[in-house]
């Protein structure tokens, strides 16, 4: 029982590393060229250009801060909530673009990155990340994590 709890803890730590790492990487890529990212957002044809520009300045920093906060136990529940929400919003936008037959770059990792080529894969990735955030939030909702420090149920 203690062994499986340790394994679960390791898997959760790895999942947090992947989730936080992906969003930090994505945010940094967008921060380097917010003008191009604004163009990517505008291409979805969901928002007027000024709103796309504001999001292009704001979203990358939210991704970076929330990605970093995943590694801080006190901030972790909030970070997971934000990252899960962001993933769902991205998934909805990509699904909308696919449904309308738009031939656009995802913009997920900054402008002109190779991962922008296939919207379908980007949608799948967004849903997987949202699922990871949801599972980790349900597990780590105590804030200090459900790892070694948590109270284990008595057998």
């Amino acid at each position: 029982m203690a062994g499986s709890a340790k394994m679960t803890g390791l898997v959760a730590a790895l999942a947090r590393l992947v989730l936080g790492g992906v969003f930090i990487y994505a945010g940094v890529g967008k921060v380097l060229d917010p003008a191009a990212f604004a163009g990517d957002i505008a291409n979805y044809r969901l928002l007027p250009h000024p709103a796309a520009a504001a999001l292009a300045a704001y979203l990358p920093w939210l991704e970076i801060l929330a990605g970093l906060a995943v590694f801080r136990p006190r901030l972790r529940p909030g970070a997971l909530f934000v990252l899960g929400g962001l993933s769902l919003v991205f998934a909805a936008a990509i699904a909308s673009a696919l449904a309308r037959g738009l031939d656009i770059s995802c913009g997920c990792f900054g402008h002109g990155r190779a991962s922008g080529a296939l919207l379908g894969l980007s949608l799948l990735r967004a849903l997987v990340l949202a699922g990871m955030a949801a599972v980790l939030l349900a597990r780590d909702g105590g804030g200090a994590g459900s790892g070694a420090g948590a109270v284990q149920p008595r057998n």
Binding site: V31, L32, D33, P34, A35, A36, F37, A38, G39, A42, N43, P48, H49, P50, A52, A53, A54, A56, A57, Y58, P60, W61, L62, L65, A66, A69, R74, L75, R76, P77, G78, A79, L80, F81, V82, R100, G101, L102, D103, I104, S105, H111, G112, R113, A114, G116, A117, L137, A138, G141, G142, G143
Partner: protein
């Protein structure tokens, strides 16, 4: 269920702090970043039909699609140039363009924005004024050849 609601409740406050904290660097980005986004809607590059473009002499067609699509088929004499590989492909465009030569940019169809993005960038960065977008893109070109 109560535990899950409790977890959500514990997430809301730190989430709110993160949402607020991100505003500070965002404002700095919007005001000071050398590549800050423009809050003014960019003007669309004028569109021309296939018939008009075909009637011009010495037009340089620019294919703004992915290179794999370009290799499968393109407007005769077109040069590839897309935002994904701008720096790599730009020398090829510059080698083919000359002052006074009209440039017509196209992508897949009317539903893609790549041609407008590439055309705006040519106007802005290379100061080429005679840049236009092919209405209907590659799909319209193919339909006109039938």
């Amino acid at each position: 269920m109560n535990a899950r609601l409790g977890a959500l409740g514990r997430a809301v406050r730190p989430a709110a702090w993160l949402l607020l904290a991100a505003m500070v660097p965002a404002v700095l980005t919007a005001t000071l970043h050398p590549r800050r986004p423009a809050f003014v809607t960019p003007e669309n590059v004028p569109e021309i039909t296939v018939a008009t473009a075909s009637g011009w002499r010495d037009t340089l067609f620019v294919d703004a699609r992915r290179e794999a699509d370009f290799r499968r088929g393109c407007v005769p004499g077109a040069v590839p140039l897309n935002e994904d590989r701008w720096e790599v492909l730009l020398p090829g465009f510059i080698g083919r363009w000359a002052p006074g030569r009209k440039v017509v940019v196209y992508c897949d169809s009317q539903k893609c924005d790549a041609s407008q993005a590439v055309a705006r960038r040519l106007r802005r960065e290379l100061r080429i004024n005679d840049v236009f977008v092919l209405k209907g893109g590659w799909a319209a070109w193919q339909a006109a050849q039938k």
